[in-house]
């Protein structure tokens, strides 16, 4: 592992991010990454956060047209309420803050505490939960579906609405709408190694793959003998389409989990597009790359987001962040 000691990986990465991105204000000690021109007068601010290890999510999405601030926690561990309260205070222009929260027990609890504390300080806070992972059987008895690749669509599209000056209620409604239209399914070809443990989180022999994985090295629901890229695309796209029956065009995210080369991801995308074509699902836009990762896990995920004209316009709107840039 390319680290100094496990205890300083997050702080080290933030120092490096600060050096590479003068357009961001990086508070290494308090672990808050803020766009330099915040608070932006007259606009709602999006704040997200979560455990580290998913880079470029979330700090890589801070900038005009997307997040106003991000709060990185320890590796795979939700940030603490103090970070979110600090971030909210730094970015609030008086028009309110939307917390974008991936649906994990820790993230939900910490953001819930933070929302209360920020409101005590006079910041208007709304929250949206992202829960797009179809591999988790949703039920009222469990923590529910996980937030994975859909987070990128929520942050980009709701961020564009905020940048246009939409009020908090509208930005929140758009974020919920995007989440409701997103579904994801992930596959691992190898486990990941957390700095704290130093060895793979689960044991996946070569020649086998794990279906329905999350983004924290938690094992998936099923293990199978290795399949081809085309077979994996059939399985992943069908798992998503079983849950999302798009009536119109979709946005596609073919996402790498951290250790899968872009060469393989593009090849996989060709198969994903083939399957979508065979199922009669038109594609409006496609993004390929490692955006919502799980440290050094090998594998990929597919996220589909059912678009309409308004969401497509907001998706195409300019964005300028460390990891996602277009239209500017």
């Amino acid at each position: 592992m390319l680290i100094n000691v496990p205890e300083t990986v997050v702080a080290d990465a933030l120092r490096g991010m600060a050096a590479a991105h003068p357009e961001l204000t990086v508070d290494v000690e308090n672990r808050v990454v803020v766009r330099r021109d915040a608070p932006v007068a007259g606009k709602v601010a999006l704040v997200s956060g979560g455990g580290s290890g998913h880079e470029p999510l979330h700090a890589g999405f801070v900038g005009p047209g997307m997040l106003a601030a991000a709060c990185p926690g320890e590796v795979f561990t939700s940030p603490v309420p103090d970070q979110m309260v600090r971030a909210a205070a730094a970015v609030d222009s008086g028009h309110g803050v939307l917390f974008v929260v991936k649906n994990y027990t820790g993230d939900v609890l910490n953001f819930e505490m933070a929302a209360e504390l920020a409101e005590d300080e006079g910041v208007r806070v709304a929250r949206v939960l992202v829960d797009d992972d179809v591999a988790v059987t949703d039920s009222t008895y469990t923590a529910g579906r996980r937030g994975t690749g859909g987070t990128l669509f929520v942050e980009k599209i709701a961020g564009a609405a905020a940048e246009e000056g939409a009020p908090l209620e509208r930005v929140e409604a758009i974020a919920r709408e995007v989440n409701a239209r997103c579904r994801s399914f992930g596959v691992a070809l190898g486990s990941c190694t957390t700095p704290a443990k130093g060895s793979p989180t689960f044991d996946l022999p070569p020649g086998e793959l794990e279906l329905g994985i999350g983004i924290h090295g938690e094992p998936g629901r099923e293990r199978r003998p290795m399949m081809t890229s085309g077979e994996i695309a059939d399985l992943a796209v069908d798992a998503v389409l079983e849950d999302l029956r798009p009536g119109g065009p979709v946005l596609v995210l073919v996402n790498g989990m951290g250790a899968t080369p872009l060469l393989e991801l593009y090849g996989f995308n060709a198969e994903v597009q083939r399957v979508l074509g065979e199922r009669g699902v038109p594609v409006a836009r496609t993004l390929v790359g490692s955006y919502v990762t799980s440290l050094d896990m090998a594998g990929c995920s597919v996220t589909l987001c059912q678009a309409d004209e308004e969401l497509l316009r907001l998706w195409d709107a300019p964005v300028r962040t460390a990891a996602l840039q277009w239209g500017v």
């Binding site: 496990p6 455990g51 926690g73 320890e74 590796v75 795979f76 561990t77 939700s78 940030p79 603490v80 309420p81 103090d82 994990y104 027990t105 820790g106 609890l109 910490n110 505490m113 591999a135 988790v136 059987t137 008895y141 469990t142 923590a143 996980r146 957390t194 704290a196 443990k197 989180t201 689960f202 999350g214 924290h216 090295g217 938690e218 094992p219 629901r221």
Partner: protein, 204 residues
């Protein structure tokens, strides 16, 4: 009666226990979670000990509230808010007396554990820390706060009883049937919290 020093001994003992057992907790967490429970609690309870050292005065109640706040501010994940809420609510329930009776502590812990159940939306049998905490506070209450050893035994047995359970909450819940056969790491650390409580009383 239990004075402020008793609560300092408890927290210092817990920090040492978590430090000693961090690898085991992380190992349990890597089987059905995300392999960080030991490191997170080690960071949290180290911060608790530091904060208590910087607070030379303080009552049993105020020290537990301070410890809970430290956990919320330093641990993150689900365990930060959950353990933080346990200690903070128990501390509030103790009020500002300089000494508390064991039976008062038993009642305060019951309040704290109920707050954990409410915050996490979990109940006994879900394969969580509650499976160790609930039998422990029941055992302590039954003995009117006298038998800390019984509470520690109940917590140990409760933690072991999570092995055959199917997880319904937290990250292990995503595994469904595959969580069966592994001890819940939260229940294991909760048993340490009760064991160190008993040790602070000299009952273990």
């Amino acid at each position: 009666m239990l004075d402020a020093d008793f609560f300092r001994r408890w927290m210092t003992g817990m920090a040492a226990a978590v430090d000693r057992e961090a690898d085991r907790l992380t190992e349990l967490d890597s089987a059905i979670g995300d392999a960080d429970h030991g490191a997170n609690l080690r960071r949290g309870f180290a911060a608790v000990v530091k904060a208590l050292e910087e607070e030379p005065s303080g009552t049993p109640g105020s020290l537990l509230v301070l410890a809970g706040r430290q956990l919320i501010s330093t641990v993150g994940g689900a365990s930060g808010p959950l353990y933080g809420t346990l200690l903070r609510r128990a501390g509030k329930a103790l009020g500002d007396a300089a000494e508390v009776a064991p039976v008062q502590l038993a009642e305060a812990l019951r309040v704290g554990v109920a707050a954990v159940a409410q915050l996490g939306g979990a109940k006994a049998g879900d394969k969580t820390m509650l499976d160790a905490l609930e039998p422990a506070v029941e055992a302590l209450a039954e003995s009117l706060g006298e038998s800390f050893a019984a509470a520690a035994d109940a917590a140990d047995q409760g933690a072991l009883a999570t092995v055959p359970m199917r997880a319904r909450k937290g990250r292990a819940g995503y595994l469904g049937e595959r969580s069966v056969g592994h001890q819940d790491p939260g229940a294991a650390s909760a048993a340490l919290l009760v064991a160190t409580l008993a040790a602070a009383r000299g009952a273990r």
